[in-house]
Structures are given as C-alpha cells and as structure tokens.
C-alpha cells in the first residue's frame, strides 16, 4: 500500500498499526441466480488507531463489509488491506480469520459455558501466547482495570447485558488485536446504559489505542465516538459521505450539548435520513 494513505491528524493518536484500506470492494450474493449486490465498489481508508463509525440503514450491507474484513465471508472483487498487507482480494476472496481482527458481535458471543474469566483468557490460551496461570492473571488484571472485578467467576448469563458487552470487549483486547470490529454492540441496550457504555468504551480505547471499526445506525453514537463517520448508502452499500469529526478526544458526555456536535449532527442528518427513506421504500417494494 502506498504508505501515506490516511495519516490521521489527531494529536494523541500514537498508534502505528491497524490501518485498513478497503479498495473498490464488491460483494454480490447469488442465491439461485438472483444476484443481489450488497456492497458496490466501496472504497474506504481507516488510519491506524482511528475510530471509524459506519452508519447506514439496517440491511444495507455494513455487516457484509465487516464479515469480509474478519474473514468470515468472501468478497466478489476488490481488495482489503491491513497495514499494507492484502487480507483478501479478487484472487483470494476470503481472508483468514485471525486474532489481529476480533469481532464483537451484535448479540454477543461470550461462550455461555465458560465463566467470564475463562472467556477473557480464551484467546491467549488458544494462541499459546501465555501459560495458564499467566493468562488468567492477565485476564483478571484487565477485567479489574475495566471495572469488572467481582464477576470473574460468574457465567455470562448471570450478569447484565451491558456488563457482558464490556467483558466481550475485554476478551477481544486480550488478543492484542490491531483492529476491533464492533457490529452494533449496543443496539439492544437502553439509552441510559448506552451512554455509560460509550464512556467505558472510550476509556478502554484511550488505554489501548486500537483501530475500531464500529457499525451502528445511531448517528448520535457515531459522532460522539468516532474520529471519522462514514455514512453508507442503502443496499448496495458504498460510502455516501465521509465526515471527519473535528471534536478533540478525549471526549465525555458534555460534548453532546456542544455547538459543534449539533452542527455536525445537522450536517449529516439529512444524508442519513435520505438513505433511511430509500431503504424504507425498497423494503415496501420487497414486501
């Protein structure tokens, strides 16, 4: 990759790894000959250590893009690069899943049969990076750091959904990933819990400086968290507008009432609404 693609200007961004380049990616689903284009010549640059928010209507193909980066699904053409190395391309349509790109799923994927601590220690143990004791010590430490002391030996089913999301993010970070791929992780949470989760996520981010690819359809969430907000068109999916959020990090909830935040909301709201209407109309036709 030509080195200088997207060096982000954020001053406190010291990260040097985890830059993603999505280049002209096309994904066509072909169920029984009826080709459906999910992603349409999508190009997007995410700098190392950047929080990039992907906003778009439900079913627009955002998750398809995430699955391609994670290596769960194939792409039809184009290429995706991580730190200049090809993850997948037209020639090699499916990336290998790896611990450098960890997904936090929409409905959570903590293993219900493992305690929270066992879940958090899972990655390093599988990769053989730590011994048993070391992995558990580190897991304990990371959980304590994220305010999760006391639930280590509970099962995920025993704690609140907000807590589960935090445990899952910590489990992801234990793999020392270059990129965190978050697929609407806070969708099912009520707005009060959500606001707590946002600040907790930022706190974790400030400590770990990992690139974050965050899918949402909540514009407010997107502008509050992101360095960059990519507003996607409805199916097929492609960036309609990419917004650089010039509100400096670290941010807290005071930002929500600031003038700049309101301006950015106004600036993007129309684009999002337009796509939502299109998605709605398309849904009507299908129905």
């Amino acid at each position: 990759m030509s080195g200088g693609s997207a060096q982000h200007a954020t001053a406190m961004n010291a990260a040097t790894r985890g830059s993603i380049r999505v280049e002209d990616v096309v994904k066509i689903y072909d169920p029984e000959g009826a080709a459906v284009m999910a992603v349409d010549h999508c190009t997007l640059d995410i700098a190392a250590g950047e929080i990039c928010m992907i906003v778009g209507p439900s079913g627009c193909g955002k998750t398809t893009l995430l699955n391609a980066i994670a290596g769960f699904h194939e792409i039809t053409s184009g290429s995706i690069l991580l730190d200049g190395e090809v993850l997948c391309s037209t020639e090699k349509p499916k990336a290998e899943p790896g611990s450098d790109r960890i997904v936090v799923f929409q409905n959570g994927s903590l293993f219900p049969w493992k305690t929270n601590l066992e879940n958090v220690a899972f990655g390093p143990l599988m990769q053989g990076r730590f011994g048993r004791k070391e992995a558990y010590d580190k897991a304990q430490h990371m959980m304590a750091d994220a305010g999760l002391s006391g639930v280590e030996h509970n099962y995920p089913g025993e704690i609140s959904s907000g807590m589960r999301r935090r445990v899952e993010i910590i489990r992801a970070l234990m793999n020392d990933p270059k990129v965190l791929l978050l697929d609407e992780p806070y969708r099912a949470l009520d707005s009060l819990t959500k606001s707590v989760m946002h600040e907790a996520l930022l706190e974790i981010y400030y400590k770990n400086k990992v690139t974050i690819f965050f899918i949402t359809h909540d514009l407010e969430e997107a502008i509050f968290l992101g360095h960059k907000v990519a507003i996607m068109t409805t199916r097929p999916c492609r960036p309609k507008k990419v917004l650089e959020v010039d509100i400096p990090h670290p941010r807290d909830y005071g930002v929500l009432t600031s003038r700049r935040f309101r301006e950015l909301m106004e600036e993007t709201n129309e684009a999002v609404h337009e796509e939502a209407l299109k998605a709605f109309a398309a849904g009507e036709k299908e129905g």
Binding site: G123, M126, N175
Partner: protein, 291 residues
C-alpha cells in the same frame, strides 16, 4: 416476605407427601369399598351409560385392584426374598447395559452426523427409516439374531435410548450459534479446540435432555421385552427374569398384590435413575443453574 430456597424446597416436599398420601388413601378406600373411588356418586353415571345401551360394567372400579395395605403387606414379605432383589438386579443391569451402550455409540454418532455433511447424507436416511420402528418390534428379530437372550434384551433397551440420544445430539450440535465458531476461530482456536471447547459444551445440555428421555424409554422397553421374551427365564428360572418377568409371572400365578409390587418397584427404579441423571446433568452444565 422473601421465600428462601430452603423454604421452597420444604414446601415442594410437603406438597409431594400430601399428594402421595391422598392418592394412597383414595386407592385404599376405593379398593376396600369395592366401588369406583369409593363413592356412590358415580351411580348416576352408570345409569346414564346403561340408558345409552352400554353395560353397567363398563366403568371399572378400583376395587378390582388390590388395596395398598395388602400390597404393602405382600411387599414386606417379598422384601426378604432374594429372587425379588435379583429381578431388580437383572432389570437394572439390562437398563444400564443398553443405556450405556446407547450413550457410548449415540453421542459420537450424533456429533459425527452433525459435523460431517457426507456422513449425514449416508447415514441419516437409514437412521430415519429404522427410527420409527418401535424397539419392541425388534424383540423377535433380536432373539433370533443375538446368541443369548440376555444380549437380545439389552439390545432392545439400547435401541430405546439410542434414537433419542442421537436425535438430541444432532439437534443440539446444529443449534450452536455460528458466532461462537467465528469468535473461537478468530481467537486462534484449532479445529480440535473448537470441537472440545465449543461443540462439546454447546451440545451438553441436549445430551443431558436426550439421556433423561432415553433413560425413561429404556425402563419402558426393558419391562416389555422381559415380558415378551420370558426374560431369560431359561437362564436363572423366575429369578433371572427381571422386574418385567416378575410382573408377568405374578399375573400368571394369580398373585395380584405381587403385580402391583412389581409395578411400583419399576416406578421407583425409574424415578431414582432419572433423578440421578438429572443431578448429574446439573453438575456437568453449571452455567444453566443461573439465577
């Protein structure tokens, strides 16, 4: 006032004891008075049925069944009889043999069918054709096929549990969310790790359910198989027959109290074995004991 776990358990226990006592008392009264449930109130119902042209006898009365006190007296007598306990032992042995074999063969077989499309394609049609055949329909063939009657009966009990366990294992393994596989794969788990740490624990609740249901079926099957086949009475006389043959033998010999003793014995055996299995199931799936 909040109800503690102990209080709730106590309450359940009291309810259980009360319901069993009420059942026994009704049975005793009905049996002694030689009338349906001991009440004349049903006389009008008999009249009604007669009016429709049905025989008065059409309603059975519980009086035809020996009273619980008589059964208890008989039991107190039999309990010193070695052959009664040997019947227990034989049935239990057959159930355990069939059930254990069903677990040992059924769980890996189910997992294989869930994991491998080719194996599924090859085996499942045959499995699905054989599955609807009731285990008892296998009794004659089993007796012809297996060299000893003992093996024949164990085989039939095996069939009773096998299908249920396999179906549950396949269903359980297939319903594991794909996200768990994807997450494990991303975190660097090998295929063996995924099998051991995702597939196996993910299927465990279904294995527990399948075993509990299967255990119930084995008791049903073993008793009937023993009745039909004579329970291997050639081997050890009446003593070798197991509880099914014990009941049948009592019927032939006209000892009605002893029939009921045999029936209740099976009830107890089934209850205890399911209870043990449930406890074991809870122990191996601690994450389901939540809240």
């Amino acid at each position: 006032m909040p109800v503690t776990k102990g209080q709730r358990l106590q309450q359940t226990l009291v309810h259980g004891v009360l319901s069993i006592a009420a059942f026994v008392i009704l049975w005793e009264i009905g049996s002694r008075s030689r009338q349906w449930l001991g009440l004349d109130a049903f006389e009008w119902l008999r009249g009604l049925l007669a009016w429709f042209g049905w025989e008065k006898k059409i309603l059975p009365w519980i009086g035809a069944v020996p009273a619980p006190s008589d059964v208890l007296a008989k039991w107190a007598q039999i309990i010193h009889d070695v052959s009664y306990w040997h019947s227990w032992y034989m049935s239990l042995f057959r159930v355990m043999a069939g059930f254990t074999a069903a677990m040992i063969i059924g769980i890996p077989f189910g997992l294989l069918l869930a994991a491998n499309r080719t194996a599924f394609g090859i085996s499942f049609p045959v499995f699905e054709v054989l599955r609807p055949i009731p285990p008892l329909a296998w009794v004659p063939v089993a007796i012809i096929f297996w060299p000893t009657q003992e093996l024949a009966i164990s085989f039939v009990t095996f069939l009773g549990a096998f299908y249920t366990i396999v179906i549950n294992v396949i269903g359980g393994a297939k319903s594991i969310d794909v996200r768990y596989y994807q997450a494990a794969q991303s975190m660097g788990a090998s295929n063996w790790d995924i099998f051991r740490r995702i597939v196996l624990p993910g299927t465990l609740p279904s294995i527990v359910v399948g075993s509990a249901v299967g255990m119930g079926i084995t008791w049903e099957v073993v008793v009937a198989a023993e009745m039909i086949s004579g329970g291997g009475s050639q081997i050890g006389g009446t003593a070798g027959g197991g509880l099914g043959f014990f009941i049948w033998n009592s019927y032939v010999g006209g000892s009605y109290e002893q029939i009921v003793v045999g029936m209740i014995s099976i009830g107890i055996a089934g209850f205890v074995s399911s209870g043990l299995l449930r406890a074991a199931g809870k122990y191996v799936t601690p994450w389901l004991r939540l809240r």
